[in-house]
């Protein structure tokens, strides 16, 4: 599973990343997590408000910090 957390590096984005990391650990799925900080790349994904979470090319959340339970749901 390929997970991307998009955000320029503000506090909300860091928080989102931590939540996703925790969700990966909790569900123990096999996933690679990458952080996308470049605006150009983020925009190419069709994302215009951050933080955003993309799983296997599918945009799961935009412009808010997801709850860990939600992220776990996406992973399962």
């Amino acid at each position: 599973m390929e997970i991307k957390v998009c955000g320029p590096g503000c506090a909300s984005c860091e928080k989102t990343q931590k939540i996703v990391e925790a969700a990966i650990a909790a569900t123990s799925v096999d996933a690679t997590l990458t952080k996308v900080t470049d605006f150009q790349e983020i925009a190419k994904l069709g994302i215009f408000s951050t933080p955003a979470v993309v799983i296997d090319g599918e945009v799961k959340s935009v412009g808010n910090i997801p709850k860990q339970s939600q992220v776990e749901g996406w992973l399962r």
Partner: protein, 365 residues
């Protein structure tokens, strides 16, 4: 269920990005409503008693002399700190709830269909209530361009969002009265509307970085949240925990400095440097304000103290707007999507607007 994570955002206290969506389909119960009303009543009663309490505390309990330096400073601090914190908590809660109606996606969609002029006005007003921080300025800008929002209208939004800051308005109201707060709100909006309109007239679209232009045809992912009233109330609590939790230290430090100035600095000290007669103080205030990056919460108590010591309102307003609206870090971020010329125009136009405001109020008040 996981507890909701408090959102972190930039020091200016604006709400960066909204928090996680809730899916519960609960309605507000009568009990919740009653608790809310009861809380509001308690808030009001305590708020009313703050001034008498500060006098009792400083002159009765501590036995300080009325009119003494220390007494004045302590009374100022003991009155203003809880007053500002209480106002801040209440308003931030309400705005946190309101903001759940104005997502960036909705704002963008709405503005895309607007023509200039009317668009500038609406964009500036939406700038106040739409969640925003300087770190989200760029994605937001990209989204506006992508959606086909005119450049001038986008700028009206980008200027109003940080400049007309709800924390600043509350503090000005609490410390200096509704007139100053209204002047700040009104001129801030006007500057955003007019600056955006002028930038729109210039037709500077070619000064946006090229890769941004290509986005116009890109597809946008939009995930709409479905929120219940319970969710919106939660947003209010989160906003309080987040914003008040972050700015309280600046508020106390600011009021502390204010209290020291209030008690110890002679009444006319500032009049010579920042008074009406020193015309050059307005441009100096603007220039000094640009590299400074303080949040509204920290700067307003200082502003109050400066005003109390003979500084002119126009000069002080110009300084405050410059600190909040023209920040160097934001310019650095915007540089990624705007060519330097456009950033220069942005600073020039907004700076002129602030200068004008400064001179105007020094003249008429």
């Amino acid at each position: 269920m996981e507890s909701i994570q408090p959102i972190k955002n930039q020091a200016e206290g604006a709400n960066c990005c909204s928090a996680g969506p809730g899916t519960d389909k609960k309605k507000i119960t009568a009990r919740q409503l009653a608790a809310g009303l009861l809380g509001l009543a308690a808030w009001y009663i305590i708020y009313k008693e703050l001034l008498p309490f500060s006098y009792f505390f400083s002159y009765g309990l501590l036995g300080l002399e009325k009119g003494s330096h220390l007494g004045e400073a302590i009374q100022f601090f003991v009155y203003d700190t809880p007053k500002v914190m209480m106002l801040l908590t209440l308003i931030v809660f309400v705005i946190g709830m309101l903001r759940s109606f104005f997502t960036q996606e909705r704002t963008r969609k709405y503005l895309a269909g607007k023509r200039e002029t009317a668009g500038n006005v609406i964009a500036a007003m939406l700038g106040i209530v739409t969640p925003f921080c300087s770190c989200s300025a760029v994605p937001l800008f990209l989204g506006f361009v992508q959606a086909g929002v005119p450049l001038g209208v986008t700028f009206s939004f980008l200027i109003a969002a940080p400049m007309v800051n709800e924390v600043a308005v509350i503090l000005l109201y609490g410390l200096l009265g509704w007139k100053v707060a209204a002047i700040y709100l009104g001129t801030g909006l006007l500057i955003a509307i007019i600056s955006g309109w002028i930038i729109g007239r210039f037709k500077l679209e070619h000064w946006i970085e090229d890769w941004v232009q290509e986005l116009r045809s890109a597809e946008v992912e939009i995930i709409e949240e479905k929120l219940t009233w319970t969710d919106r109330i939660d947003r209010g609590y989160e906003a309080v925990r987040d914003i008040v939790g972050k700015v309280w230290i600046y508020v106390i430090a600011g009021i502390g400095v204010g209290a020291a100035i209030h008690g110890y600095v002679p009444e006319t000290f500032m009049a010579s440097v920042m008074g009406k007669d020193a015309w050059w103080s307005v441009p100096v205030a603007v220039v000094v304000g640009i590299p400074m990056y303080s949040n509204a919460a920290g700067i307003v108590p200082v502003v109050e103290a400066l005003l109390g010591k003979g500084a002119a309102l126009g000069t002080v307003l110009a300084f405050m707007m410059s600190v909040i609206a023209l920040s160097l870090p934001e310019m650095v971020i915007l540089r990624k999507v705007l060519k330097p010329k456009l950033i220069a125009v942005f600073i020039g136009v907004v700076g002129s607007g602030i200068l004008f405001t400064g001179f105007l109020f020094n003249l008429i008040i």
